[in-house]
């Protein structure tokens, strides 16, 4: 058999196999995308952030290892309180591993809870207004990270929960927090307290008192395991606020409520 014929035959087999497998691969790829695989966007922006070698490794199927390297670097920067550098690295890490909820969650926590406190304690900035503004900016960065994390992981409860907590504790957006906790509660594997947290926050959301009351009452009627001090306290508060007739009210003994200074009305 001549060399040319052999070459043509091998090329023919490979091309024929290619033609057969391309529709299969295209379909398989679509199935993987639907199952949230291969979601990382390896574009030129990321290439500039992580360098050529890191980008090559990420392309070669070692995204997780590259992301871990950057994560360790961000941890070192945290110890040196270099918040700007940390955010830069967090953006790279989450771009490489968008399905890793721990990266989104911890990155948002660093920004909204650590960097914001550092901004408020910044001794180089004497003006309180500017310190407050910087603090608020870090809250928003944390919120943005969680929202982007949710966009990449709409099927997991954890980031909704973290967003709810951030909105509740840092931005005092109780309506938003209620919606976030309710979204978390709807997902599989969600913690049992998500639905309670959603109801608590709804009770603090102006204009939704009736809705919150109905939900708290529903939870109360589930049995004693739901009769937690905060639930009883919020229920008692709404009964009074909504002027629920005495005959319809749940009798909540004072000794089952949290101490007065823990109640927030």
């Amino acid at each position: 058999m001549s060399g040319w014929f052999r070459f043509a035959a091998v090329a023919g087999i490979l091309l024929l196999f290619g033609a057969v497998r391309i529709p299969i691969e295209t379909r398989l790829n679509a199935e993987y995308r639907a199952a949230f695989f291969h979601g990382a966007k390896l574009n030129l922006g990321l290439r500039q952030q992580i360098g050529q070698l890191g980008f090559l490794a990420a392309l070669g199927g070692f995204r997780a290892a590259v992301a871990d390297g950057l994560w360790i670097q961000a941890h070192i920067d945290w110890m040196n309180t270099e918040w700007g550098k940390m955010l830069f690295l967090f953006n790279s890490v989450t771009a490489l591993q968008p399905r890793n909820i721990m990266f989104w969650d911890v990155a948002a926590w660093h920004m909204a809870y650590n960097a914001s406190v550092a901004a408020m304690d910044d001794r180089t900035q004497p003006r309180l207004a500017l310190r407050l503004r910087h603090q608020h900016e870090y809250f928003l960065i944390g919120k943005d990270l969680l929202e982007r994390g949710i966009a990449n992981n709409p099927d997991r409860y954890k980031l909704y929960e973290s967003l709810g907590t951030l909105l509740r504790d840092k931005l005092q957006d109780h309506c938003g927090a209620a919606a976030a906790y309710a979204s978390a509660a709807r997902l599989p594997d969600a913690m049992t307290y998500e639905k309670r947290f959603a109801a608590y926050e709804l009770s603090r959301c102006p204009g939704h008192e009736r809705e919150a009351y109905n939900e708290l009452l529903r939870l109360y009627r589930l049995g004693e395991k739901e009769w937690l001090p905060t639930l009883l306290s919020r229920l008692k508060y709404l009964q009074e606020k909504l002027n629920i007739p005495l005959s319809q009210r749940v009798n909540i003994p004072e000794n089952q409520l949290p101490p007065q200074h823990f109640r927030d009305n």
Binding site: M1, L14, L28, G61, F62, A65, R99, N100
Partner: protein
């Protein structure tokens, strides 16, 4: 003495097994398993920096690094071990001794590939065992500390989170797919070595195939995209890449699985079957070249 000669069997699993076991023995004698020490050191090194991080981060780092290292090591082992098979047999003249006997060339190639696949299987299993042991010991530490430091009403939720963050069923298909990808590469490297002039050429071309294969999916999407702005020549070039090279992104599942994605058995089965098909096709074309090779 029996006067009738034993008829020659066209396809003999026993002959293939003899070649495969010899290939495995030769590779083991070359001390290829030393790389397992590197894998072990890597996990020990990771253990040294682990206390800096919380448990969730520790589990994540351990899984990422271990499975990433398994992926790199099995791939490198498949390329390096296979690239040297034919040149070494030619240099030692073992090839001529074998082929002078009634051993068909396809049996020789299947035997050689099977030897490498066995080596890869042993390596993958050992690395997986070390990984599981490391993850389990880290998990037990985390459980002990959580029970000690968590209030009784929260301990169940905390333990549930630890269990979810460590072992999941999807780790098994992830490790199997690492092996399938390495097998695919062993077969591809064997094909390259049938026409290569030296083992260095085989290694370089095989590594290049790895990176091209990682981008094959992009080439295929651009080629198949309707109304693409690319000209005819680039489209032909993209088509050739899509048709000739394997789509390795389909086998890069570890990154997403350690991030918490779960893979269905159907999807896993399809991917493993595609990997098996690639391995067979590359073996077939390797035989096609090797069959008419002048030795």
């Amino acid at each position: 003495m029996d006067p009738t000669p034993t008829p020659h069997i066209f396809f003999s699993p026993a002959r293939i097994w003899a070649i495969a076991s010899n290939t495995l023995l030769e590779l083991v004698r070359q001390k290829v398993f030393y790389f397992l020490l590197v894998f072990g050191f890597l996990l020990i090194g990771l253990g040294a920096i682990a206390p800096e991080f919380n448990f969730q981060e520790q589990f994540q780092l351990l899984k990422d690094v271990s499975l990433g290292a398994m992926s790199i090591f099995t791939w490198l082992l498949s390329v390096l071990a296979t690239a040297m098979l034919l040149p070494k047999d030619i240099e030692d003249r073992t090839l001529y001794t074998i082929l002078a006997k009634p051993v068909p060339r396809f049996e020789y190639l299947i035997g050689k590939l099977l030897g490498v696949l066995l080596l890869l299987l042993i390596s993958t299993l050992v690395m997986a065992a070390v990984f599981v042991l490391a993850l389990y010991s880290r998990q037990q530490l985390a459980i002990a500390e959580t029970i000690r430091n968590t209030s009784p009403d929260q301990v169940q939720d905390a333990l549930r989170e630890i269990h979810a963050a460590t072992f999941s069923f999807s780790l098994i298909p992830a490790i199997i797919i690492i092996y399938v990808k390495a097998a695919l590469f062993a077969s591809l490297t064997l094909f390259i070595s049938t026409f290569a002039s030296s083992w260095i050429f085989t290694v370089i071309v095989s590594i290049a195939c790895y990176f091209i294969g990682s981008l094959q999916g992009v080439a295929r999407e651009v080629w198949l995209a309707n109304g693409a702005t690319t000209g005819h020549l680039p489209r032909i070039f993209l088509a050739l890449i899509a048709l000739i090279f394997p789509d390795l992104q389909l086998f890069n599942l570890v990154d997403d699985i350690v991030a918490g994605n779960s893979i269905s058995l159907v999807l896993f089965g399809k991917t493993a079957a595609l990997g098996g098909l690639y391995t067979c096709i590359y073996l077939l074309v390797a035989y096609f070249v090797f069959a008419s090779k002048e030795l």
